[in-house]
């Protein structure tokens, strides 16, 4: 490829997310200004809280682990044209199973920890299997079913913990006992809670990149996502692509549960996910669905989260305020996703055509003029 082609293909891919982040930083500055904060100070604190010292960097990496997993869990189905809005429920059940295995199975760490990881992945995948089968066999929208199964998963897990596995010492919080050291993922940089989950997350991103670019199944998955009718007409087994993408997605979601529960928290704690499943969308969108991009976007959003903790402590600002900025980013980035056929359909359904811009309308017109 010559230079022009490289720039022509990569630059638009980078320009949009960079612009989206820049615009949202500016817009957020305005919100801060109107609320009477010193913008420069807030942003300086944000930066310090993300990368200012070893503790800050460790905090960023701690969040990055789960956020990269979450980004991958969303990005993969997205490439197959599906929205897995159920990452939240999948990781929740997986987290419970991880804790229970840690508590009940007596094995040396070298055997126990892989068992915990694999079991959590299987639980996440099984929970994702339900909406996928419904989609393939009854065309039930996976957006609805995955979302709704979150409530089922969270309710069931909390019920089980509350009634059968509740910690002996806790009066208030719904949580299990601490898992024994053998089941606890060790920290790479004590005392900070950064486990080898981070390495697995990054390796997984590389693997998924290879999968999408270099394997038959990955190619078919991408074609299904780009134009499902084209794929079907060409003889691709759509259901198989969906199954692969969703099971892998659920399994990756399960890893979040494993590493949050048996790594960061050391036990299953009710409501332990601060919304990883939804942050996954922000990250996957920022990354344009690319697994390698998810590493970068995951680190970025993790830095934002780590920094926002400092800001909320130092300025007494509610942490939810940072969510405004994330919201702005996701709005701006969605405008780019006209490229994905699926998003196009959803957006069209909501008649947001003007937001997506002319490129999409051209495609639409061509569709119309051929039918």
């Amino acid at each position: 490829m010559n230079r022009d082609v490289v720039i022509g293909r990569i630059l638009p891919g980078l320009a949009r997310p960079v612009a989206a982040v820049a615009i949202s930083l500016a817009a957020f500055a305005l919100v801060l200004r109107l609320s009477g904060y010193d913008v420069a100070q807030v942003y300086a604190t944000l930066l310090r809280g993300a990368v200012g010292d070893p503790a800050a960097i460790a905090s960023t990496l701690r969040w990055a682990t789960s956020l990269i997993f979450a980004g991958l869990a969303v990005a993969l189905p997205l490439r197959a044209g599906l929205f897995n809005v159920g990452v939240e429920g999948q990781l929740y059940l997986a987290g419970l199973v991880a804790a229970l295995i840690g508590l009940r199975v007596d094995l040396p760490a070298l055997a126990l920890q892989p068992l915990v990881i694999v079991a959590a992945a299987i639980v996440g995948a099984l929970w994702a299997l339900i909406p996928t089968l419904l989609l393939i066999h009854t065309r039930a929208s996976e957006i609805v079913t995955t979302l709704m199964l979150n409530y089922v998963a969270i309710g069931v897990a909390d019920y089980l913990v509350n009634n059968y596995f509740r910690a002996r010492m806790s009066a208030e919080a719904v949580m299990t006992d601490r898992v024994p050291p053998a089941a606890r993922f060790p920290s790479l940089v004590p005392p900070y809670p950064v486990s080898y989950g981070l390495i697995i997350a990054v390796a997984l991103a590389l693997l998924l990149h290879l999968f999408l670019k270099r394997t038959k199944q990955g190619y078919e998955t991408r074609m299904v996502g780009l134009n499902r009718e084209f794929a079907a007409y060409g003889g691709v087994r759509i259901g198989r692509s969906w199954l692969v993408a969703m099971l892998a997605s659920g399994a990756i979601a399960g890893l979040i549960g494993a590493f949050e529960t048996n790594g960061v928290n050391g036990r299953f704690v009710s409501q332990f996910s601060p919304g990883f499943g939804f942050d996954g969308f922000l990250i996957a969108f920022l990354a344009g669905g690319s697994p390698l991009g998810v590493i970068v976007a995951g680190l970025g959003v993790a830095a934002l989260r780590a920094g926002s903790l400092s800001v909320s402590i130092e300025f007494g600002m509610p942490r939810i305020t940072i969510a405004i900025m994330q919201g702005i980013i996701i709005l701006l980035i969605s405008a780019q996703l006209g490229r994905l056929d699926f998003v196009r359909r959803v957006v069209r359904a909501f008649r947001l055509r003007s937001v997506i811009g002319p490129s999409m309308q051209v495609v639409r017109h061509e569709h119309d003029s051929q039918s």
Binding site: M1, V5, R9, R214, T215, K216, Q217, Y219, E220, R222, M223, L226, N227, E229, F230, A231, A232, Y233, G234, G235, V236, R237, R339, P358, V363, E366, H367, D368, S369, Q370, S371
Partner: protein, 531 residues
């Protein structure tokens, strides 16, 4: 060819009704119109011809106020105008009839005509007045509309005349028609031309966007050819001829195909349908117990007006739609129960779909990715679960070269290609490998002359290699030129077979759902219409 009723000179008083100067319109890096001058005289029928992507639709969208030019000015009847919207253009007297109608099928013709501004008394709808006005207008413009009939029950030709009337109501002076005959039978097209002549006689100025040269000479006074976003100076139809126009459109000599120049070597049966029926997406019967036999080494043409079951026929054979009854047999093997496109492809069926943007390609994917769908499953393009990127690139480059696909590289997205080259990607993919049955549905629709020529040659080569080709097309010229036998499809049934030298008129009667008995009476009506 019909005689023109009025010579250009007599029809025109020499004044420019529409005068577009120095029009430039860019879409990103693509220049759709560059410094185009386009002048239409008052009271003429002006044909705007050119290949797909030549910029004719863009130019007319600018004239109709749908797009704004980056540079250049528009004068209507001598007055400088600037259109911010289609409403502005209508106020200046310009109306446009699009390829796709915007009619409400459940309302009557009269109600559709006045949908935007129904005649009313103090805000109360007056149905009587509405019907009377509609009838008056139909008479005044000699459109012959059954104004009380529901639009949904009318033939396409009548619906189109409703659209023409609507356009005349909004833009009273200049009428722009975008590829109006694409949906018409030859008889309906003749009726349309008669309507256009009548409108010209009553002082209207008509611009006809088309790529069918036959129509240009049937109805136009003057012709402007566009190529690559530029316009040639207009020529008088009386002083030009089809091959000259084709040369201007393409930029080189084009062999305008004579019908019936083909030879077949029919072999054994390749595809057989036994009393196959199916429903369309709305649940209505689309195929009504149709049977056909396609031999290896022949091209069987299916003619017909779009929407008479052709799409469903192709989909049923391709495995994209399930028949409600009947059998589908490929080389003696019953494949009716092999329901998926995958299974049908395994049986040797290749498919050039009618709507290439919908299912023929994945636009954002690269040329290579679009070419490899299917062969990617086998060596050398893959080994085990792994794609072999070198083999893929070599495979793509070979096809790009062999089929003359104009693309910056195999890694360019198909979305960056012109319509003709997108279609070449589809044809290249479908004709690679063993093809027993080739389903070619409107294979040259919206494709420029050069690419169409190339694709036709490919179909003939597929036949020479022993494939049975089912050519479904709404272009009669294409069906007659390529087919060894012709079936006409109307209302989900076949008429025929016909020999390729069958008259266009006879095919037209069957396309309209007629039968042998109607041939005589229709022929008489035909003369009346032309007179």
């Amino acid at each position: 060819m019909d005689e023109r009723q009025l010579t250009p000179e007599a029809a025109s008083d020499g004044g420019a009704e529409l005068d577009m100067r120095g029009i430039t319109k860019r879409f990103g890096d693509v220049v759709a119109n560059r410094q185009v001058d386009f002048v239409v005289r008052r009271g003429e029928v002006h044909a705007l011809v050119g290949e797909n992507g030549a910029g004719k639709s863009t130019l007319m969208r600018i004239a109709a106020g749908i797009m704004r030019p980056d540079e250049g000015g528009i004068r209507v009847s001598g007055e400088t105008r600037s259109f911010a919207s289609a409403r502005d253009a209508a106020a200046a007297g310009i109306g446009m009839v699009h390829q796709h109608f915007s009619l409400v099928p459940s309302l009557t013709i009269a109600e559709n005509i006045f949908l935007a501004e129904p005649p009313n008394q103090f805000g109360v709808l007056d149905p009587k007045l509405l019907r009377r006005r509609a009838a008056e207008l139909s008479t005044r413009y000699r459109l012959d509309l059954p104004t009380d009939g529901k639009v949904g029950n009318q033939p396409v030709g009548v619906q189109q005349r409703v659209e023409i009337l609507k356009a005349l109501l909004t833009g009273r002076k200049i009428l722009i028609l975008d590829e109006p005959t694409a949906v018409l039978t030859p008889q309906e097209a003749d009726h349309l031309f008669a309507t256009l002549r009548a409108l010209r006689a009553s002082g209207h100025t008509i611009i006809l966007i088309t790529h069918k040269l036959r129509e240009v000479f049937a109805v136009a006074d003057r012709i402007t050819v566009m190529r690559d976003g530029r316009a040639f100076p207009p020529v008088a139809a009386a002083e030009s001829n089809p091959s000259e126009l084709a040369r201007m459109m393409v930029g080189r000599d084009v062999l305008l195909r004579r019908p019936n120049a083909t030879q077949a070597t029919p072999g054994p049966e390749a595809l057989r349908l036994d009393a196959v029926s199916c429903r369309n997406d709305r649940g209505a019967t689309a195929l009504d117990a149709v049977s056909l036999t396609l031999h290896a080494g022949e091209i069987l043409g299916i003619a017909g007006v779009n929407g008479n079951g052709q799409d469903e026929l192709v989909e049923v054979v391709a495995g994209l739609r399930q028949p409600s009854q009947g059998r589908i047999v490929v080389v003696g093997r019953d494949v009716t129960t092999a329901r998926s496109p995958r299974a049908r492809r395994a049986a040797g069926i290749a498919h050039i779909p009618t709507d290439r943007m919908r299912r023929g390609v994945a636009l954002p994917a690269t040329v290579a990715e679009n070419l490899m769908l299917g062969p990617h499953e086998r060596p050398p393009l893959s080994r085990g679960p792994w794609l072999q990127s070198n083999a893929v690139r070599a495979f793509a480059d070979t096809l790009i070269d062999r089929f003359g696909i104009r693309t910056p590289s195999a890694a360019a997205p198909v979305a960056a290609l012109s319509g003709g080259n997108v279609q070449k990607v589809v044809v290249a993919r479908e004709l690679t490998g063993e093809v027993t049955v080739l389903l070619a549905a409107n294979p040259t629709r919206g494709v420029d002359i050069g690419a169409a020529e190339f694709i036709h040659r490919q179909l003939e080569e597929a036949r020479a290699r022993g494939a049975g080709v089912l050519l479904v097309s709404s272009e009669l010229d294409e069906v007659r030129a390529l087919s060894d036998r012709i079936l006409v499809m109307a209302g989900g049934r076949f008429a025929g077979p016909f020999a390729p030298d069958v008259s266009e008129h006879e095919l037209g009667v069957y396309m309209g759902g007629g039968d042998r008995a109607m041939l005589g009476s229709e022929a008489g009506a035909q003369h009346d219409g032309a007179a």
